[in-house]
């Protein structure tokens, strides 16, 4: 762990340096135009400072994004307005609740279908090829339609977005879980047969425990997919609330810093959700004695 810390920090520092350098190049045109209009000559250092502190830069620099993030989360929380409509905590929560609701339903349905597939040969042969093929299809494209259709039958708000999230996390979980439930080898299954274990006992004592590593890998993929689904699901509804809506309004009004801060909020959300799952994974696999 320690041996990779220095290289990681180096890479991150390099990205930061490149980022600031790129910001100078990309924002310089606007700075020069403004200076020309005001009829002042910019020295190089003034130019650089200006490119790093514009209101609507082409590329905002990290400290601008960070300060916007703080202004819309921590600072508002300190003022006791954590859930006002201008706060990213509020928008993040909207997205997060849709993500989690969809994720729970999607993985639940996925696990159930996987159990069915493993125990019923007809289901396996008919559903499994479609489940695999569906992963090559850009399912996300149907997101706007789901939103509008559910809207026209009177379902609004959280549920349509959760529906997309569920749909996106469903297939990775099915495929991963089927693989996991099938992972015990013939020797282990034979052993349980010699114990005259019933199908249920085989499932609870052998198949389910040995599917756990596969399940967690699928859960991580599904969680990331759920979040993307919830964000994209916020785009077509007219975009009022949620991180996706922040991105869309930001792009309408040229508020680049707002887009970037929403993007980073989404990234932090994704990283922490996946991080929580891998933490549970490590704990659980350790207690179960699975080899790392």
């Amino acid at each position: 762990m320690m041996t990779s810390l220095v290289p990681i920090l180096t890479v991150i520092t390099a990205i930061m340096v490149l980022w600031y350098a790129a910001a100078i190049g990309m924002n310089a045109k606007w700075a020069r135009d403004q200076a020309k209009r005001a009829k002042v000559e910019l020295t190089t250092s003034e130019l650089i400072v200006d490119t790093w502190s514009q209101d609507r830069p082409v590329l905002p620099v990290p400290h601008q994004v960070a300060s916007e993030l703080w202004k819309t989360t921590g600072a508002m929380a300190l003022k006791g307005r954590a859930f006002s409509k201008r706060s990213l905590i509020f928008h993040g929560w909207i997205t997060l609740s849709a993500t989690l609701l969809g994720f729970v339903f999607g993985t639940g349905a996925g696990i159930l279908l996987a159990v069915g597939i493993v125990h019923n040969k007809a289901m396996d042969m008919s559903v499994m090829p479609w489940a695999i093929a569906s992963q090559t299809i850009p399912i996300l494209a149907i997101a706007p339609m789901i939103i509008v259709v559910l809207n026209s039958v009177g379902i609004q708000g959280l549920v349509p977005k959760a529906f997309i999230s569920a749909y996106l996390s469903f297939f990775p979980v099915v495929v991963g879980m089927v693989k996991g439930l099938r992972s015990p080898d013939g020797m282990q299954l034979d052993l349980l047969k010699t114990y005259s274990a019933s199908g249920g006992e085989t499932f609870w004592k052998l198949r389910l425990p040995s599917s756990m590593p596969y399940l967690f890998t699928a859960l991580k993929v599904g969680m990331a997919a759920s979040l993307v689904g919830a964000i994209v699901g916020e785009l077509p509804t007219g975009a009022i609330r949620g991180l996706g809506a922040r991105m869309l309004t930001g792009s309408y009004y040229g508020q680049t810093i707002q887009i970037w801060s929403a993007l980073f909020a989404a990234a932090i959300l994704a990283a922490s959700l996946v991080g929580i799952i891998s933490m549970i994974e490590r704990r659980m696999l350790k207690r179960m004695g699975v080899k790392p």
Binding site: T3, S4, V6, P7, I8, L9, T10, V11, I12, I15, V58, K121, A122, D124, M125, S126, V127, M128, P129, W130, A133, Q135, T136, I137, P138, L140, A141, I142, P144, M145, I147, V148, V149, S152, V153, K220, A224, L227, V228, I231, V232, L235, P236, L243, G244, M247, L248, G250, S251, G254, T256, I259, W260, A262, L263, A266, A267, A270, A271, V274
Partner: protein, 281 residues
């Protein structure tokens, strides 16, 4: 009412049929493996059609498959224009640039374990983020036309591809590398004769994952602004006009394009990695 009964009856019949085929001695044969999913798919279509007709579902909520088929056949020209704009110009260009760039980057950092240790975790981290969120930014930078879509695709496929390639290049054991050394092969000879071929299964894994990402990226990027053509554009505007048959037609094309793209890459993989155990089975 009669349609609903037909739907239920057809469902029960094909369920029974699939059960018979799956539990018959011929279940392992090739035609059974093909027939069962095809019957299942046909069942879904028939039940869908019958239920939509039987329950009088309005076409603005769910059009029947027959209407979608008619729409596909009658608007092939529009679909083709959208396909070229989104798939050929946006997704394919971005895919080639992103994957090519990632493979070249992987080879460049291959000689430096320091860079690898730094870039791999960062790349893994970025690959798990909702990169699709960069779409509005890139649309702002590169304009509404396909260039911005290709840029989104590049960003989306780059990191999964990089991680896979770097892992693939590490996929040789010391025996094989020692053998190359006894031939006094230099770095480049070892790379091209041993390590790149050995990396191909992992590289193709990445290439296959990237096909789906490329199409998703190109379509979703069009939701943030596009010229008046493209699959994502058509989907978002037709949804607004409640022309759901057109939306489904676009989705059909997207599904076919996505599976075909994946299938072609898988075919190339079969030709390139014919030696790998997973291809010989």
């Amino acid at each position: 009412m009669i349609w609903v009964l037909i739907a239920v009856a057809f469902w029960v019949f094909t369920w029974w049929l699939n059960g018979r085929i799956a539990n018959s001695p011929a279940a392992g044969s090739r035609w059974a493996k093909l027939a069962v999913p095809v019957i299942f798919g046909a069942t879904v279509l028939v039940v869908w059609e019958a239920l939509v007709r039987g329950l009088n579902v309005p076409p603005v909520i769910l059009p029947p498959p027959s209407a979608i088929g008619v729409k596909v056949a009658s608007s092939l020209d529009v679909l083709w224009v959208d396909f070229v704009q989104t798939f050929v110009k946006g997704a394919l260009t971005g895919y080639l640039m992103g994957c090519g760039g990632a493979i070249v980057t992987a080879i460049l950092i291959d000689r430096s374990p320091f860079l690898q240790r730094g870039l791999l975790p960062v790349g893994n981290f970025i690959a798990a983020l909702p990169i699709i969120g960069t779409a509005p930014i890139l649309v702002m930078w590169f304009g509404f036309d396909w260039h911005s879509k290709a840029a989104v695709v590049v960003v989306m496929v780059f990191f999964p591809m990089l991680v896979n390639t770097v892992q693939g290049l590490a996929d040789t054991d010391s025996m094989q590398r020692d053998l190359m050394k006894t031939y006094s092969a230099n770095y480049w000879q070892t790379l091209f004769s041993l390590r790149l071929p050995a990396a191909m299964p992992a590289i193709f894994n990445g290439l296959k994952v990237a096909t789906t990402l490329a199409l998703i990226g190109a379509i979703v990027a069009e939701f943030f602004g596009s010229p008046i053509k493209g699959m994502g554009f058509r989907i978002s505007t037709e949804v607004g006009r409640l022309g759901l048959d057109m939306v489904w037609a676009e989705i059909t094309i997207a599904a076919i394009a996505g599976s075909a793209f994946y299938g072609i890459v898988a075919l190339i993989e079969k030709g390139v990695t014919f030696w790998h155990p997973s291809q010989r089975g």
